[in-house]
Symmetry: C2
Subunit: 503 residues, 2 copies
């Protein structure tokens, strides 16, 4: 490679480093706003967010960026990191530049209006209020798909925003299988006379004690407190500012410890991912999880395959009792285990258990796919939504608020996002299957509280790569096959047949 090209590569990486720096500052602001920033400063802080974000946007679509992309794309001998960084930048550049500036502006305004209206509509449980905005959002996204182009199915272009490489073909295959298997299992559970008792879960468990227990579990998971911290918030999240600073947040419900404990384990799974990305990727857009779905595979793995596993509680139930206020003193481990694994069809996605959750996602997937293939009209959504809930989950929403209006996603124009949640489950189950071959003593590890080999396994196979590998590439490299719903189905059947003592 010529000296001139080497210099250009250096300049490009410096340019990208500056964008990363702005993004890191934005992440800190975001974390701060959600963990105790004084409310009176929020308006001015929004100004700061606007200015920094628009700076990053400008840099990602600048003539300078265009020149780097053109000149470096043909260069040989670029480092792998530069190549992948260039790919990411090109993708972003194309995506943003292909939309006419005027339309993009119109869209941003629409998004912010639609979110306000959605809130109002949800409060009033009145879909008609929100309908014109949703129609416009769908219409504009269709136009964007026109600008961006698509392969196979228009909806693929939206899926690609969150889960690159995953298509309608793949999802139809796995979601159909999931649905066909989960629906009868839910029915069997519904009819089972062996329902777990759960009343003892809902006793007063002081916040500070919940926090102390959660900290112990995070430690057990291998979360590095020299590279993180745990704070309180309203809508929990984990955020990676850089691999040396990945923060977890939790919400505390003093009458239901599960919110904080399983929430923290979930966010802790996200955090382990971000903490263990190779430091060689710092300062590039590759230094984050590769996709929503793979990220969710990590959080769900820890939440369900660790946190809701019998062996995990064999180790930790006494510890929980130590922090709790006597509420479990007369509850056997088996009873406790069954209680935290109760499954019951419900209307609200974010409150769903691990068995019914995929159906919530599948309903949204089917609706989105229909919308973008002109098979479903926005105005028919409440009806379609309710019918699907009745068909798949056996319950019918009593209102738009508990039905089609429950999620914020569409109001922000996020179409194609929902499938990631269910993909995460399937990835996690598939990873687990491979992991069992290499860590056959998995249950014993949980029982002894030695979770580090699990973290190390994921770091080696998933975490370290950041965005250097695409989601399906990771899945293939780790498990030796493409996406397969079988593993999740097997897991759910085995587990829930036991919990509900089905024959």
């Amino acid at each position: 490679m010529s000296e001139a090209l080497r210099l250009l590569e250096y300049e490009f990486l410096e340019y990208v480093k500056k964008m990363s720096a702005f993004s890191e500052a934005l992440s800190l602001i975001y974390w701060d706003l959600r963990t105790g920033a004084p409310k009176k400063g929020a308006d001015q802080r929004s100004e700061v967010i606007g200015i920094l974000s628009s700076e990053v946007f400008k840099m990602s679509t600048s003539e300078e960026m265009a020149a780097y992309i053109v000149k470096l794309s043909s260069a040989k001998d670029l480092s792998e990191v530069t190549k992948k960084t260039l790919e990411e930048c090109k993708k972003e550049y194309d995506r943003n530049r292909k939309i006419p500036a005027e339309e993009y502006k119109e869209y941003v305004i629409l998004q912010s209006k639609a979110e306000c209206i959605w809130e109002e509509a949800k409060a009033k449980s009145d879909f008609e209020l929100f309908r014109p905005y949703l129609e416009k959002l769908v219409e504009m996204n269709k136009r964007f798909i026109g600008y961006w182009g698509y392969t196979g199915n228009k909806y693929n272009t939206l899926l690609d925003l969150y889960e690159p490489g995953v298509t309608v073909d793949i999802l139809d295959r796995v979601f159909t299988k999931l649905r066909e298997k989960i629906v009868p299992l839910i029915k069997a559970i519904f009819e089972s006379p062996n329902k777990p008792k759960t009343d003892f879960l809902f006793k007063r468990f002081p916040k500070e004690k919940q926090r102390e227990f959660s900290l112990e579990i995070l430690k057990q998971m291998g979360y590095n407190f020299d590279a993180g911290r745990l704070d309180e918030t309203v809508h929990p999240f984990a955020i990676g500012l850089n691999p040396g600073d990945v923060r977890v947040t939790a919400k505390y419900d003093e009458n239901d410890f599960r919110t904080a404990v399983f929430g923290t384990i979930h966010e802790g799974g996200h955090a382990l991912y971000e903490q263990n990305i190779s430091s060689s990727l710092i300062g590039t857009p590759l230094c984050t999880g590769t996709s929503m779905g793979i990220h969710e595979s990590q959080s769900l793995f820890y939440e369900n395959f660790v946190g809701r596993h019998y062996s995990f509680w064999k180790k930790n139930y006494d510890l929980l009792k130590k922090y709790a206020n006597g509420q479990f003193d007369d509850v056997e481990l088996d009873e406790f285990y069954r209680a935290i694994n109760e499954s019951k069809p419900s209307l609200i996605r974010i409150e769903a258990d691990e068995l019914t959750y995929p159906l919530h996602v599948i309903i949204r997937y089917e609706i989105e796919k229909g919308l973008f293939n002109d098979e479903i009209n926005v105005r028919d959504l409440p009806q379609i939504w309710n019918d699907k809930y009745e068909e798949y989950l056996g319950i019918r929403p009593d209102s738009d608020a508990n039905g089609v209006l429950q999620d914020v996603h569409w109001s922000g124009g996020s179409f194609g996002y929902f499938p990631s949640y269910a993909l995460g489950y399937m990835y996690a189950a598939q990873f687990k299957q491979t992991m069992l071959k290499e860590l056959p003593n998995y249950d014993e590890l949980l029982e002894s509280g030695n979770l580090l080999p699990i973290k190390e396994w994921f770091t080696e196979k998933v975490h370290q790569f950041g965005k250097m590998k695409k989601p399906l590439e990771i899945l293939q490299d780790v498990t030796g096959e493409g996406l397969n719903a079988k593993y999740l189905i097997d897991y759910l059947y085995e587990k829930y047949q036991k919990v509900y003592q089905l024959s």
Copy 2:
């Protein structure tokens, strides 16, 4: 004003708003680093700081800025805010552009090296280690004064960096007076047989309880918790991100509650200033305290004229007892009051009491003035330092660490900063004198815990203006006269004659 000029003014204010946004992000990073940011992320965070700061620096010295300054300086009918903003920007631009880029770079590197070496030298108590760096720092600052120019005295140019308008002439006058009056008072106290008992101060007072008491006091002061928060740190500070978000930090010593309580009152005084700057100044460089000295007048006012006032404790002593662990149960209010107002010559500035403190500052002032007027050589500093301590305070440092090496300021090239501390005292005392005319029931306000009229008085006279007024302009407008050391001297005499029962 022409349409074109109106547009230019708008663009200039947008440009400045962007600089402010970067600065606000930097302030948040700074706060975060000092209140619990995970240490493993600190290196990458430093990169972010470097990138954002250099962006602000570039913008402040850009050709674009030069054009705004030239074109707008001659414009008529600019708003007052634009005019003052322009002045600030021009000052900054001139200051930064007059130093050749190469020299500036050399200086930045020197600063960072010197700080490291200073730490080592202080640890080893070896001035000779630090001497060559200090010599170079002084030499380069002399060169900068050459570039910047000066009026009257070379040292004035450095003073102007921190306290615009304050000169050697003014300081010589007030510092001489202060010194001549304080030295004999310290001597009288030293000889007084009526020393306060203080042993009861140093009992275990749990951190959490100190915090709760401090929160009560902040509330009493009128600190707005919707626009702020209190966190723990190692070196306490207050920081204004914008008037709606001004944060206070405290350090807790469980064996000396004074650290946190008086520290929080002090930082709370700074915070009241920043919280009450007019919101019309947000997004400009005017939206902060006008100078180090005026800022210090607010913190010292609250720390000493409120927090060490007898009436304040008449109101709050029972409250303190409530939070404390019995340590004051057998201590009369009078005894307590005398204890927290103990005065004793000491070697370390930051541990000095309010009476001896000004002498620490005056010593540094005399030395700095001497250095920049070629009357003192760096190599003679330890000797000169120790002689002055012996002369003014009656004690001689036993080591460089406890002498000339104790402060970090010079290692960072901060010359001209120290006088602000003593100016703050004098401003505060002078404000108090005027305040007493308008709030003659001052003592009663303290006794009833009604501190709001004091805050409101300062907001009307000082806070709201931010940098719209220069320090001496504020002093003149509020008190009707220039800087006068008499008020501080009178206050100190009146108070300490009582505390030490001098005849």
